[in-house]
Symmetry: C2
Subunit: 285 residues, 2 copies
């Protein structure tokens, strides 16, 4: 999806949040904000929102020399999620429908998104996970089940740190022997990198590949050849999170999108209300 004009206020907020992580000096925040407003005024708004976010953050990285601004928050979210994992795995294994149960937790974990919202509290994460199975799961669950049963190869597109631990539950149910996990190729916001997937123990289960870039989504033009080959050849692509949806929702291949609707623009593009847990099939075009 293209960037909507309504995304502009959100970019300004996101960059202000990043500025406050970089420094405690209001003069630094102001300088970053003034430059970002200028850049946004001149930006090509036909880009997807994640590509514009990438550009804004890239400039911050160059300016400050800080490459992984969200490292501490990612670490905290990974640890919180790992702490919850045994209980959730037990819940999945005793569920009447472990695949659905695991999908519920994976989507609930998508709340851990520091691009969509600043100041996410531990309690918000705990509450999202606790109430995960009570949330209605909007979408194409039967089609998903059938696609999973029939796929010999599955490419799973990860989204955020912390959330990647919950993805593990779903990957365990999918049958790890068929799955390859893709993560971002370089730090951006709190998006999961290979180190986050390894921390979740996923390297013992599945091959992990970095997609070669730092878009907080999946911008195929910027992805490396290995990723693109897998994306084109996999029987099934499972895409987690808003950023992957925003960059792939117009792609011609069949994809199952799993995410929590966290902004009005994605609500509009997906046809699902704000807050909804979505499991959506986009059929091959």
């Amino acid at each position: 999806m293209k960037t909507c004009l309504d995304c502009l206020p959100c970019f300004v907020r996101q960059i202000l949040d990043a500025g406050r992580l970089i420094s405690e000096d209001p003069a630094v925040h102001e300088e970053i904000l003034r430059e970002s407003l200028q850049d946004l005024a001149n930006e090509n708004w036909n880009n997807t929102p994640p590509v514009i976010a990438q550009r804004l953050h890239k400039k911050l990285k160059t300016k400050t020399g800080i490459n992984d601004l969200y490292r501490d928050q990612k670490k905290a979210h990974n640890e919180l999620a790992l702490h919850l994992l045994p209980k959730l795995r037990a819940d999945v294994s005793t569920s009447d429908d472990p695949l659905t149960s695991a999908a519920h937790f994976a989507i609930a974990g998508n709340i851990i998104d520091l691009g969509a919202k600043n100041g996410l509290s531990e309690n918000e994460v705990l509450s999202a996970v606790e109430h995960a199975s009570e949330e209605p799961l909007e979408g194409d669950l039967d089609a998903f089940r059938t696609a999973v049963e029939n796929a010999e190869s599955i490419l799973y597109l990860g989204d955020n740190a912390g959330e990647i631990v919950f993805d593990r539950l779903l990957i365990e149910q999918l049958g790890p022997e068929r799955v390859t996990l893709a993560v971002r190729g370089a730090p951006i916001l709190n998006d999961a990198l290979e180190e986050d997937a390894r921390l979740a123990g996923l390297h013992d289960l599945v091959p992990i590949i970095g997609n070669g870039n730092d878009v907080p989504g999946t911008d195929l033009e910027q992805c490396n050849d290995k990723f693109r080959a897998l994306f084109n050849s996999a029987d099934l692509v499972i895409s987690k999170g808003q950023g992957n949806f925003e960059t792939l929702n117009e792609n011609p291949r069949q994809i199952f999108f799993l995410f929590k609707v966290k902004c009005p623009m994605v609500a509009n593009a997906s046809g699902q209300p704000l807050g909804t847990h979505v499991l959506m099939e986009k059929a091959k075009q």
Copy 2:
């Protein structure tokens, strides 16, 4: 209060809302937004938020030749409020404490603020009024009562159209013979003008003066001499709404601010949580 960096995303949203009222053409919205981002990048952020809003809207007025963009919405809000007035007046007159009851309604009416939020529905207004007296009124009610009892002259600073009808209930309780009502001197957002105050029948009760400018607040430097003289000489100044608070909260004179807290920055400056109905005395400094 100075503009906070957190006000910047909100300005961008406000201008996008205005652009959508001006035209249905996305190219026009984009042009307005690009120019406003540029202007905001170069703005003096030591100004109060209402003064920056004034400048952004002034540029829109010049560009489009549309002077009163919110005319239709103001008319609709005035009519809705006038429809509610007889019932609310009866509630006030049978109340054990008519002054507090009228203050409640006047503050509830402050929800009609199209600067703080776009797309306000009739139901939101009705619900705010219906539940007005259940809302806790944070502040200095006893000091307010005493100040009202002792004042020979009261300057009442109006805020928005529609809301001005609810202000009438409070002005009736204050004793109209002592009150002068000030409104904006020219159209800005949905702020009340003399025509709105007349529609509420206030011209039969009190003298009405325009303050001589189109700041969505009270920027004394831009106010006319008549307004400033009244502001300085009145025994009591009652200030309605966030915009008046944002422009006068650092003024040295005693003022009673009545408003609903509608943004985190005003929550911070007032020390009251988002959503609170505030009746706050600022003592003479």
